[in-house]
Symmetry: C2
Subunit: 570 residues, 2 copies
């Protein structure tokens, strides 16, 4: 420790936002070079490599082959699938001195398809599964919470190629199983939830979420266990429409200066659910599109993004309102000069109050299907208490950190790239694929978020930077130094990973650092313990220490570590 | 092999320029995604990881600590040392959506200094040495020869921090020793040569060069063994000047239309060495600077770049000639309106023919020190036969591939970044540093360039993708299949890395692929060999095969592999 590059901090820097972020910085796991750009210091590097190795072993176990694709990826290939433009808002781009464009890779679906096209000639070579660990860039507007949301990170991304949908389902299940084992071995209590496919294409996707208050994601969970979905994807059982229209015809009412649902509730004395909330956004060509939800529901941007094929919602400006024949604050679906998307929570047989598309006026008794037509789709956030889509039980909403995701995109990329193989019947068929990601750094910090106490990190054995922490007290006592160095030497000979606190520091500093760094087993070699021919052994996760005779300490530790290794490899 | 992602090619693609490039592509080691951007296919990935692991072990052996710095690096830190501008021509840059600039990292001197400033507080923590493997970007105008010159590659870069120059010398020597061992273990016959420090700063640097005709670099080598230097740095013993000026005054001569040294030689009947060749380039501020060499010497651009502080020479245009009071084709150092740099080969006591700075005229009997003054420095290429600067023996010029380089830059970065530690005497002192790089991919291909025959690669055991190649012939014979699978199973149980050719291919195809891929030991399990209760064993590097009794084949292979591993670990 006297020579370790990376020093522990007594206090967390003020910008540290979560317990894991604070401990990660204090224990010298990683350091920021700039917002969202981190360096793994030697201690954290060891953890990261152990996490990587566990992921690797579980990928190898299901027959995935490791390879490595580059960080810089040529624009023309991204353009084949339309993702060059789609991903613009959240990616880093660069040009060479001839003006040729590249992306700092976001993922590698396009590129692995290119490789498959040249390496896989016939059905005999399928199924195939490959993976790599590679740096990814994401131009996050708001990097946050240390390694939880960064602008550069290493992802394990795997890709499967199958003959057909049935093959894909097998590969997907194999990866799902590998993920369950991986996160279990990492000491992460990750649950798989249905998720949006986002910029990945296709329709079937799952995320592995670790439930914790520090998470960015919201997960709808049915307490009966039959439904779990990211809010970006979650649905609920809808009340049946009664199928009748309101008897009253729609009429205009004056609502001077009343531009929000809250203001309308107050002035008309009606609940939020009585109103239609209309938002104006831009479509792929920059043309205005209206989005209509009940006044008591919030828009789920991910659901809208998916419909619009964007990675970022662009709201309309005054000119767009004018083009659609409306005014901000009083927009509504009736007679609007723009296509209308209406949320499934808008009941088609019911009369609502909606904007009249002119200043200071609303319409009442507006009914979907009678007064306006629209494309109906799920665009709202599910909220706590909404009925489960499967069983009707009230859903709970929990926060989570997404540590992995898997996508069964099928022929989404193969179609756009004309990526085919020679099938058994002599025809050319499209590859049927999926992709499977795990964020390495995010997994490391999520382990800290969920495995610590107020004194520091408690590393699960499988990912601890070292297995045994030897503390010599005081280091300048010749007997203590000799005994400690002897123990370290014996343990290292037996292939035990030892962190040796050989610093001239006080017991207080050394114990505080040992608790902070969180190595599973601590051995203290002190003047006092040696007086009773013993050393003190303490597990980080336990409150109790025990004295172990000095002459059997090494054997005892080798035995403990061996058993811990066996348990961790399972 | 029936499922391996990456297929061997009978013919090398026409763009493959060197034997190593051809074999690398044919054996499915790597594939280009774009010019200079390569993917490691699974077979090559295994080689790359073994190379990485050997480098790692030798770094760890000298006490370097592994860490990982990011690929994207913020501009403001590069600007502290002036390298943001200096490196512009050969690097990739990107901006985030707030306009903040980043470089796809070139190296990490600036960033490791930042870390040292926050992690190393006092002299007690020194010396310190860290390293990482990380992707680097280089906007090479001409990527060439596969992995030899690419636009993205993984480099192992290590950084040392010392108290003082004496400490740096120790760290530098430790890295030099680690490099010697590393390349030896990789099977590369690399020699260390003096080299230019290029964009790294400082004055002392060595490259590790593997001599081969496919190399880009030119190395001056004294056959006595006392001098080896890259041409960018090489000097030779200069003839002593006689110290007298020519008796003749300089006079103007008419040389209509004679704008090259070759034309002057012909029209005046003098050898090239009788002329001064004057080139006009731009300095850091874009102002013209003249460079003068004897007519028989060529400019070494690296030497000039170093003097100008650039990574790319910018030649002057017509406007610059006019500003300097000259004309293209007739430029000379006498009366020129620009600073003059003169090469050490220009003898100061001798009269030369030089341009007169006006159209169709030259001057004869021009003498340095009498007719013009200049900054004298070494700017020429050493050529075959020039006398060794140490012993005077005629130098040889050989081509080489640079697989590693080490730089002792001292306080070059620490000064610019004010990177200091608390010294024992209570003052703050600058870190004294060095950096040490190895190109992983270039090493892999250089191994192929120097270890192959006309049938394929001959991997040194230590970096071979697998240890044993089992070929079953034919695979559809039940006895053969059972015997081959049994052998593979037994070997894998004993932790031998086996590549199993389980394809339904002919003997010709299988043997050709085995030779191409170049695994050290090939075992053929065939109907014929099994008939004599044997399998055929052949080392890739040897012409001869031998029959080994089937029942002892596994034990024999385990023994061979064990001995090869021991030899490779040395």
């Amino acid at each position: 420790m006297s020579r370790m590059f990376g020093r522990t901090l007594r206090e967390a820097p003020s910008e540290a936002q979560t317990p894991g972020h604070q401990l990660m910085l204090r224990a010298a796991i990683a350091r920021p070079l700039a917002a969202g750009l981190y360096t793994w210091l030697p201690l954290g590097f060891r953890v990261m490599k152990k996490v990587e190795q566990i992921i690797r072993e579980e990928q190898d176990r299901i027959g995935a082959q490791e390879m490595e694709m580059p960080v810089l990826t040529p624009a023309e290939v991204w353009k084949m699938t339309g993702r060059w433009d789609m991903l613009e808002p959240i990616t880093f781009r660069t040009k060479d001195h001839n003006g040729r464009e590249f992306m700092v890779s976001y993922t590698h679906e396009e590129f692995v398809h290119l490789h498959a096209m040249s390496e896989i000639l016939s059905y005999r070579q399928l199924p195939a599964m490959v993976y790599h660990f590679q740096s990814k860039g994401r131009d996050e507007v708001r990097p946050r919470a240390g390694l939880l949301r960064v602008r550069e990170f290493v992802m394990k991304d795997a890709y499967s190629f199958d003959l057909d949908q049935a093959g894909l389902e097998k590969s997907y299940a194999a990866q799902h199983g590998a993920y369950v084992r991986t996160f279990q071995r990492l000491g992460l209590d990750a649950i798989s939830v249905e998720s949006d496919t986002g910029a990945m294409g296709g329709d079937i996707a799952h995320e592995f979420q670790v439930l914790t208050e520090v998470g960015d994601d919201h997960i709808a969970i049915c307490p009966t266990g039959d439904y779990r979905a990211n809010l970006e994807r979650a649905t609920h059982r809808l009340a049946a429409a009664d199928g009748t229209f309101p008897t009253a015809e729609r009429t205009e009412i004056a609502t001077p200066g009343t531009t929000s649902i809250e203001a309308l509730e107050a002035s008309l004395g009606l609940p939020a659910s009585a109103f239609l909330k209309t938002l104006l956004v831009k479509d792929a060509r920059g043309q205005p599109v209206a989005v209509v939800l009940p006044g008591d529901r919030t828009l789920n941007e991910a659901k809208l993004r998916k419909r619009l094929g964007f990675v970022e919602i662009r709201f309309a400006g005054d000119a767009d309102f004018a083009a659609a024949g409306s005014v901000p604050g009083f927009i509504g679906p009736v007679g609007l000069g723009a296509p209308v998307l209406v949320d499934t929570c808008v009941v088609s047989g019911r009369g609502y109050v909606a904007g009249a598309n002119k200043k200071d006026a609303h319409l009442k008794d507006v009914a979907l299907g009678r007064d306006f037509t629209a494309e109906v789709l799920d665009l709202h956030d599910v909220v706590e208490g909404d009925p489960c889509p499967k069983c009707g039980s009230p859903l709970q909403i929990k926060r989570g950190v997404e540590v992995g995701n898997i996508f069964a995109y099928g022929t989404y990329y193969a179609e756009k790239m004309n990526a085919t193989y020679l099938a058994e019947d002599g025809t050319r068929k499209l590859f049927v694929g999926g992709s499977y990601g795990i964020g390495v750094g995010r997994s490391v910090q999520t382990i800290i978020e969920t495995s610590h106490d107020d004194r520091g990190i408690i590393w699960p054995f499988a990912v601890a930077p070292y297995e045994v922490h030897v503390v010599a007290l005081p280091m300048n006592d010749e007997t203590v130094r000799a005994a400690a160095e002897g123990l370290v030497g014996t343990l290292e000979e037996k292939d035990i990973q030892v962190l040796f606190d050989d610093r001239d520091e006080s017991a207080g500093v050394k114990f505080a650092d040992a608790d902070l760094i969180g190595i599973p087993f601590r051995v203290t070699v002190s003047k006092r313990s040696l007086g009773s021919k013993s050393v003190e052994l303490k597990a980080r996760a336990s409150a109790d220490a025990e004295l172990v005779p000095h002459d059997v300490a090494a054997d005892r530790l080798v035995d403990i570590v061996r058993r811990a290794r066996e348990a961790a490899a399972r």
